[in-house]
């Protein structure tokens, strides 16, 4: 097998009419599918960005309440530049990508619907007095995280999605402002830690492809 692949590399697939044995054909198929799979790696940047931003805003918001700093809840405005950064990252990644995977449009649809839901939910909780709004946010956080993790068979995100829902229930029984800390925990488990894992995998795959 190794000898065959060395031959492939040496010949640079120039001599196309060289006969292939059945085993070599199967090995070639497996090798090519694997090569495509190695490139089909999420960079992890978006997940890290959102995990970081939501954790940061939650912790600052909590500390602000604890230290009686007025207006600190405006820290959530940081999500606006994060959206701008996200759009920029998505455009750059799309430009750089030389292929489209089967799941790309599904994932795009999931995250886009999540973004729209979050925007509407922020508007709703700002306009009306809703009991335990953090619990609602956490329930919504869990939906795309679990869906993406489940469909891509990426266990850290499945755990992250489940954690969002567990934290949502916990939030309902925890007094404010301590309940805000659950948002930070959820952001870490749902996005930041999976983002770190994705990033490590991406860099490893990139090194392997050089």
């Amino acid at each position: 097998m190794t000898l065959f692949f060395k031959d492939v590399k040496r010949n640079n697939m120039q001599h196309d009419e060289e006969p292939l044995s059945e085993r070599q054909s199967l090995e070639l198929i497996a090798q090519m599918i694997n090569k495509a799979k190695c490139d089909y790696q999420d960079t992890g940047v978006s997940t890290l960005l959102w995990g970081g931003v939501i954790s940061f805003c939650s912790i600052v918001n909590f500390l602000g309440f604890e230290m009686h700093i007025t207006g600190i809840e405006n820290v959530w405005v940081l999500t606006i530049p994060a959206v701008v950064a996200q759009v920029y990252i998505s455009i750059q990644e799309r430009k750089r990508k030389k292929f489209k995977g089967h799941e790309d449009s599904i994932m795009g649809g999931i995250w886009m619907s999540f973004g729209i839901s979050m925007f509407l939910l922020s508007f709703y909780t700002g306009k009306f007095t809703v009991p335990s709004p953090n619990a609602i946010f956490l329930i919504v956080y869990g939906v795309p995280t679990f869906a993406v993790g489940f469909s891509l068979r990426f266990t850290p995100m499945v755990i992250g999605g489940l954690a969002c829902w567990v934290f949502a229930v916990a939030t309902m029984y925890t007094p404010f402002p301590y309940s805000i800390l659950y948002s930070a925990g959820a952001a870490q488990l749902a996005w930041f830690i999976p983002g770190l894992i994705l990033r490590r995998r991406y860099l490893k795959a990139k090194r392997g492809n050089v």
């Binding site: 590399k9 697939m13 430009k95 030389k98 489209k100 995977g101």
Partner: protein
């Protein structure tokens, strides 16, 4: 009786191209070239053969003011690829010593 292996697919570079395209929705010509280590000329010839067989579709367009060629596998190509793999497995099954 063994099925004859599809001569369009039973070739190193064409099989490599089809294996890549079966894994993705669509791929740029440069991506296929990088992954197969083939030269642009040779790859063009083999891509054309796959296109003529109806196994892939080739779209030429402009991306950021540069010409860009993308390829994607067709339903006919998917069926041919599946049958090819099935036939290969049949050959290998018979070739294996019985336990």
């Amino acid at each position: 009786m063994f099925k004859e292996l599809d001569p369009i697919l039973h070739s190193q570079l064409r099989l490599a191209v089809m294996s890549l395209l079966i894994s993705v929705k669509e791929a740029d010509f440069t991506f296929i070239r990088e992954k197969t280590n083939a030269t642009a000329g040779n790859l063009s010839v083999q891509v054309q053969k796959l296109k003529e067989a109806g196994y892939i579709e080739v779209v030429k367009e402009f991306k950021d003011n540069y010409p860009n060629t993308t390829c994607h596998i067709t339903p006919v190509g998917i069926k041919a690829f599946e049958e090819y793999v099935k036939a290969l497995q049949e050959y290998l099954k018979v070739g294996q010593p019985k336990q």
